[in-house]
């Protein structure tokens, strides 16, 4: 009997480079892990609890949204885990459980899913959630208050808060190198600068984040802080101090580089990152909030669509 073979018929191109969304997200999670582990060594078991809870809640929120909206389950792509992990990394180690529940709701549902899920978020989901929490329950995100019961073998004050309250003279006990190595008070995953930079460099080398954004963000922070510092060293902190404290590095490598809410063309990426760095220092130095990274990132998220209109002329276009 004549048997017709069944072939796969589809459209060109018939090759694919082999990249995929899960690979991308799981690599970002891997890149974030060193910073998380350093946070565990600094803050101990409570930090483990916060990270575990925020990853779990993030996944559950995404499952819930998928179920309610009758859409395919997208948890396996790793993006919810990634958002949960980054959210945990910016929290103090003693944050109450209900704040994590609310925060992951804000990140996953308000920050990402109601806009249509992965890639459609106009704002960085974690930055949005953190900003809402900071405005609503700021006291629970105040490191000096939340970490009062810890005893550290390094100065137990939030460095940026000390700088803002008492000026650069109050920052003398802090060692720049020590803070870069993780000897400071801060969010679980944002205290150890070197681990974050290592993760970020890994992501850049593998092409999972765009180096232009990270580099220009760091340069933006440095140059602006330097100008302030030169203008009045008695009031404004040193540029390197701004780089290694607070959320600067996690912002530069993990928040500003979020795919959906950042530009993709070369010049817009440079402007976007630099603008984020400038705004961060402006808010820190002359604003009323302690750390400006999250608000800076939300603001550059807003200008992202406009920035991305700066693009090279397409083939054959004269105007």
């Amino acid at each position: 009997m004549f048997k017709q073979k069944k072939f796969i018929v589809s459209h060109a191109p018939f090759w694919h480079i082999g990249s995929g969304i899960p690979e991308r997200n799981y690599n970002m999670i891997i890149a974030a892990l060193p910073a998380v582990l350093m946070g565990f060594t600094v803050f101990g078991i409570p930090a483990v609890g916060v990270i575990a809870l925020s990853v779990a809640f993030a996944v559950l929120w995404e499952l819930a949204v998928n179920y309610v909206s009758k859409r395919p389950y997208t948890v396996a792509d790793g993006h919810a885990i990634y958002i949960g992990l980054i959210f945990g990394m910016v929290m103090p180690a003693t944050v109450p459980w209900w704040l994590i529940l609310v925060g992951t709701f804000l990140a996953i549902v308000i920050g990402k899913e109601i806009f249509g899920g992965i890639g459609s978020n106009p704002f960085n989901a974690v930055a949005l959630a953190y900003a809402i929490l900071l405005v609503s329950w700021g006291i629970h995100l105040d490191f000096n208050a939340k970490l009062a019961n810890y005893t550290f073998d390094f100065p137990a004050a939030y460095p940026i808060a000390a700088l803002q309250a008492f000026g650069p003279s109050a920052t003398e006990p802090f060692s720049l190198l020590g803070m870069f190595m993780g000897q400071q008070v801060g969010g679980i995953g944002s205290v150890c600068g070197i681990a974050i930079v290592l993760g970020g460099v890994y992501l850049i080398l593998r092409g999972f984040i765009r180096w232009e954004i990270s580099v220009s963000f760091v340069v933006g922070v440095f140059v602006t802080a330097f100008l302030f510092n030169v203008y009045n060293p008695a009031v404004y902190g040193a540029p390197l101090f701004h780089l290694v404290t607070g959320y600067t590095l996690i912002g530069a490598f993990f928040l500003a580089t979020d795919d959906g809410s950042s530009p993709v063309n070369f010049i817009p990426m440079l402007i976007y990152g630099a603008l984020g760095g400038v705004l961060t220092v402006l808010i820190r130095n002359i604003g009323s909030y302690v750390d400006g990274v999250f608000f800076a990132i939300l603001l550059i998220n807003v200008v992202n669509p406009v920035l991305d209109k700066i693009r090279p002329k397409a083939l054959g276009k004269v105007a």
Partner: protein
């Protein structure tokens, strides 16, 4: 296939097949028992009194569906007509497939040989429109289009394919004759021979044409890229090259003309590059109309359920569903993909990673374009995000992290827009 490297410093790059080391051995495909010829005219046009099952056909005979039909095929074998059937091509275009049972003895139709003197465009068009390489005489003869430049591309427009490159390197004399005959018949003096890579100097003096160099990097040999980079024509208006006065021809098509003029015989054998599952290339020579299955048998390639047979190259070809698909005059390559090598597209949304933008040779904001295309907003896609700058190379789909069928969306949009403008033109 280039897989994503572990470290990702630079974007992937494809080069065209140039056969810089040694030319492959040509494998002849034996005379098949049946051939299937396609006529660019629907089955409904057939006049049953004019042509019917059982009619004898000679090699080189023109086959028409009705006495006054313009579309014809040239029989590549001697035999008897076995069947007529409908044949659906791309975008729902309907052809008529004529299957001919080959008989043992070969008889040649001498109509073409009897044409004396220099051949006119009408002669060429009548007998050579379905010659190997499919010379586009209909464009050159279209009274509404003024063609000023003929661009002969001496390479192939997709990676891994070596058909035209092989023809250029082995049939130089016939190409030379073809260019002269084409110039004489068309009256077009401005003939450019574009050759890929750095090899162009070796051709420079031999040809009665302006020899130019085209980068060997994919997709710089695409017609829109050549229009823009070689001829400096603004190409992003959605019009075909012929509307800019440029006609593109394969080197093999011009060689067919040259052979026909020299031998007084219509060339019947098409060069085809076969790309096996392991990427190995073979060049075969098969009569037009030979079925895929017979060609693959000749090179000992078997295909199984779940594999993919692609006509053309990996970036721009199209997949076929049966081994009984015939070799057409413009089938430059057959590529076989193993079931395990096939990657599927997904319905994930764009995550805005920007890989497509970095690889796009036409500088299109593909991330924005695909959003408009998914929503079916084709006018905005053209006006705001440069749909017509697209050269259809498929590199964006190749790198897409979300595995969005971007090229498919683009082709659909262009097709829909051309249908709209056609409807508008005929409704005036």
């Amino acid at each position: 296939m280039i897989q994503r490297p572990f470290f990702n410093f630079s974007k992937p790059r494809f080069d065209y097949e140039l056969f810089t080391k040694a030319l492959p051995q040509l494998v002849p495909v034996p005379q098949p028992k049946f051939v299937t010829l396609l006529i660019d005219s629907p089955l409904g046009n057939r006049d049953p009194k004019f042509i019917k099952v059982g009619d004898s056909v000679k090699t080189g005979q023109r086959l028409l569906l009705a006495e006054n039909d313009t579309a014809a095929a040239v029989s590549t074998v001697t035999g008897k007509i076995d069947a007529f059937s409908e044949f659906a091509g791309n975008y729902g275009k309907m052809f008529t497939a004529i299957t001919i049972a080959v008989s043992g003895s070969e008889e040649t139709d001498d109509q073409f040989a009897q044409l004396g003197g220099d051949l006119s465009m009408a002669d060429l068009s009548a007998f050579l429109s379905t010659a190997p390489g499919r010379p586009p005489f209909e464009l050159l003869m279209d009274p509404e289009k003024t063609i000023e430049t003929i661009v002969i591309y001496g390479g192939d427009t997709d990676v891994l394919i070596g058909t035209n490159q092989y023809a250029l390197k082995t049939r130089t004399g016939e190409l030379q004759k073809g260019i002269s005959a084409l110039k004489k018949a068309s009256g077009i003096e401005n003939v450019i021979l574009a050759v890929p890579g750095e090899s162009f100097q070796s051709y420079d003096a031999h040809f009665n044409a302006d020899v130019r160099n085209v980068p060997a990097e994919y997709p710089y040999a695409g017609s829109q890229m050549i229009l823009h980079h070689l001829l400096q024509k603004p190409a992003a208006d959605g019009k075909a090259p012929e509307d800019h006065g440029v006609c593109f021809m394969r080197a093999e098509a011009v060689i067919s003309i040259g052979r026909a003029v020299a031998d007084k015989r219509i060339p019947l054998e098409k060069l085809v590059t076969i790309v096996a599952k392991n990427g190995e290339q073979k060049i075969v020579s098969a009569k037009i109309g030979t079925l895929m299955g017979d060609v693959l048998n000749a090179v000992n390639i078997t295909v199984d359920d779940g594999d993919r047979i692609i006509l053309g190259g990996p970036m721009t070809g199209f997949a076929i569903y049966t081994e009984t698909h015939p070799i057409e005059p413009d089938t430059d390559a057959i590529m076989i993909q193993d079931a395990s090598d096939i990657s599927f597209s997904s319905d994930y949304p764009c995550i805005n990673c920007g890989d497509c933008i970095r690889i796009c040779p036409a500088n299109i904001s593909v991330n924005m374009l695909v959003r408009f295309l998914e929503a079916g907003q084709y006018d905005d896609a053209v006006n705001l995000y440069d749909l017509y700058s697209c050269v259809d190379c498929g590199l964006c789909s190749y790198v897409c992290v979300s595995r969005i069928p971007i090229l498919q969306y683009i082709k659909l949009a262009k097709h829909e827009l051309s249908r709209i403008s056609e409807a508008e033109e005929t409704n005036v």
